[in-house]
């Protein structure tokens, strides 16, 4: 029976995050698990249509509003916070644990927000703790990447806020409701702000830049929350905006192309977030019931398998200290459990039958077909070839097989393995019993994933992708170096901006300062003895005896003044 009182789950997580640092050290880890479990229970039990409102000045805020769309996202956000909390159980720093809870509070707050003010407050709440999860890695690289990440999100928040202010003044309503496609400037601003968080190309570079540099445990939360919260908002406010179809397909392909070039394993996974979110953005753009269902289902599946993949890559980094393909290799025999759990995630993202990617990705593609977007279908299938190529083949081959680099990984903490197993369980559960996932979706599902044509199509694609990979596997091996992305446009000029606004400006200031001091020095010397103007050199101080001008000079001056005055009088 549903509980009568609806409690916003974000408040539970917020309270948890505030309480956590006050607890004794030993209690913090269990506490950081119990809090999201409570939030999950609250989301699960919240009755549909429940609303909590609050009055702020003249505005009526809807801080908590439950419908089927918000519930499916709320469930997965809370669930992944539990799994992420388990993965981070060994972490003892209160700041990291509290940051994770705050971050999840932001995501859940946005999900259940019924008005724009609540939505914006929680939206902004996500950006600081997630930045902290990058900084907490403690390297100089992560410090700089975190700052770039923060600046980018502050910019996105600014776009969103400007859009919201304009929208509220135009529409005279704070309520979060679908916006009509593309006629008002305010909706374009809101769209740009949301797209930035969804890592829509070309506003995506922060993701591939920051995620590989975050902490091992922090990256798991990041992979799940920021982009998928934005996907939820796209589904809520922008369903049927056709531009999203183009952008989504672009993202799906962009991610797989850039993943070819990546060397860091978490960077490969980060580019595949962009690619996978592309499917969801496409779904939002198509906007039919089936597409919204598909995008929601894919977000649900994606959060589980992507967290699992990040946990696998994180476990490798945690146990070996390495994350670059050029430094990894031959770990398969040394950590088989990590490898196989990772592979469950890889099979899922690649859309293998019996795993959750198969039942959700195909729904987006089928929705594109049903809406007569055949090219979109083919391009999304092409992206899924790339997904299998990297996440399923290149990354595991380079990490656990390939050349043995003589690494001896330490045993990962047991909680890491448990968390991976939990995520793997759900990935397989929904693959085997898709009904469990479909029952949660916003609309009634009329889609059967396990049909013979779909199985044949998928297995042909996967098998022959593997064959091509095997023939050309040497070509896709990691190479040392970095890949330029659109972050070049703000990272490279940063140097010039620094030179222009800091170094050159400082030099100019110094010059002006020296000049000013010189002039002041000279003036002060002159003021001590003005006679130096005439003599050029002489005593430092004025002395009436030595420097008094002769009497005739004074007489001449007096007469001259007299003549001038008389002339003027004429």
């Amino acid at each position: 029976m549903p509980i009568d009182v609806a409690i916003p789950p974000a408040l539970i997580l917020l309270a948890g995050a505030l309480l956590l640092p006050l607890l004794p050290r030993g209690f913090r880890s269990p506490f950081s698990l119990i809090v999201p479990v409570c939030a999950l229970a609250v989301v699960w039990l919240a009755p549909e249509g429940a609303e909590v409102t609050a009055d702020l000045m003249d505005y009526r805020l809807v801080v908590f509003k439950v419908d089927r769309l918000s519930r499916v996202f709320g469930v997965i956000f809370a669930l992944i916070t539990v799994i992420g909390g388990l993965f981070a159980y060994h972490v003892r720093e209160a700041a990291k644990q509290a940051a994770a809870l705050l971050y999840a509070a932001g995501a859940l707050g946005v999900t259940f927000a019924g008005d724009y003010i609540t939505l914006f407050v929680f939206w902004e709440l996500m950006s600081l703790p997630s930045t902290y999860l990058i900084w907490a890695r403690g390297t100089r690289e992560s410090e700089k990447a975190g700052m770039r990440y923060l600046m980018f999100h502050v910019f996105g928040g600014g776009l969103l806020f400007a859009g919201i202010l304009m929208h509220v003044s135009e529409a005279r309503s704070l309520l979060v409701e679908p916006l009509a496609a593309g006629h008002s400037f305010s909706s374009w601003l809101i769209l740009a702000g949301v797209c930035l968080n969804a890592a829509v190309v070309p506003l995506h570079a922060w993701l591939a830049d920051a995620y590989p540099k975050a902490t091992v445990t922090g990256a798991v939360f990041m992979s799940a929350l920021t982009t998928k919260t934005a996907v939820y908002v796209l589904l809520r406010i922008f369903p049927g905006w056709e531009i999203l179809i183009t952008l989504g397909v672009l993202m799906a392909l962009y991610g797989v192309v850039f993943a070819v070039l990546a060397n860091d394993i978490r960077e490969i996974l980060a580019y595949h977030i962009i690619s996978q979110v592309g499917y969801m953005v496409t779904g939002a753009g198509i906007g039919t019931e089936m597409a919204i269902n598909g995008a929601s289902a894919h977000a649900f599946s994606h959060i589980l398998y992507k967290a699992l993949l990040f946990m696998g890559a994180g476990a490798v980094l945690h146990t070996t200290g390495k994350s670059k393909l050029t430094q990894l290799g031959g770990l398969g025999k040394k950590q088989p459990l990590v490898f196989w759990l990772y592979m469950v995630g890889a099979f899922s993202i690649s859309g293998f039958p019996l795993f959750n990617g198969f039942v959700s990705k195909s729904m987006v593609i089928a929705a594109a077909g049903a809406a007569h977007h055949q090219t979109v279908m083919l391009l999304l299938l092409l992206a899924s070839v790339g997904t299998f190529l990297h996440t399923g083949l290149k990354l595991p081959y380079g990490t656990w097989f390939g050349e043995d680099r003589g690494l001896f990984p330490k045993a990962p903490p047991r909680n890491m393995i448990l968390a991976m197993a939990a995520a793997a369980f759900f990935c397989t559960l929904h693959g085997v019993l898709p009904g469990l996932l479909y029952d949660m979706l916003p609309y009634k599902v009329h889609f059967a994933p396990y049909t013979l044509p779909h199985l044949v199509e998928t297995s042909q694609i996967l098998i022959f992708t593997f064959v091509a990979f095997w023939i050309y596997r040497a070509k896709v091996a990691g190479e040392a170096g970095i890949t330029l992305d659109v972050d070049w446009f703000y990272r490279r000029p940063a140097k010039w901006a620094q030179r222009l606004f800091l170094e050159d400006l400082e030099t100019a200031f110094n010059k002006v300062e020296t000049l000013g001091m010189n002039i002041a020095g000279k003036l002060s010397r002159l003021s001590k003895n003005p006679m130096l103007i005439f003599s050029g050199s002489g005593e430092k101080y004025f002395s009436p005896d030595k420097h008094r001008p002769a009497i005739h000079t004074l007489i001449v001056l007096a007469l001259l003044s007299f003549v001038l005055i008389s002339l003027w009088g004429l």
Binding site: V260, I463, F464, I482, L484
Partner: protein, 73 residues
Amino acid sequence: MNALRWTLLGTAAAASLLGEFILPVDPAHQDWWNGIPAFFAFYGFIGCLLIIVFAKSLGKLFLRKREDYYDAD
């Protein structure tokens, strides 16, 4: 990859290719590519090569830089 795995893979490949011919024709899901035999096998193979070649040539052209490209300070 040992012989057993190659055999399994070969069987799966054969099954997926043959599976196409026993499919019931569903007029509701007929796109132009359904008329081409083994379309998705080619699509997987060629698509995979295309992605690798395209990305690698972009990388060679201007995207790949040395590790300290941004940190000349």
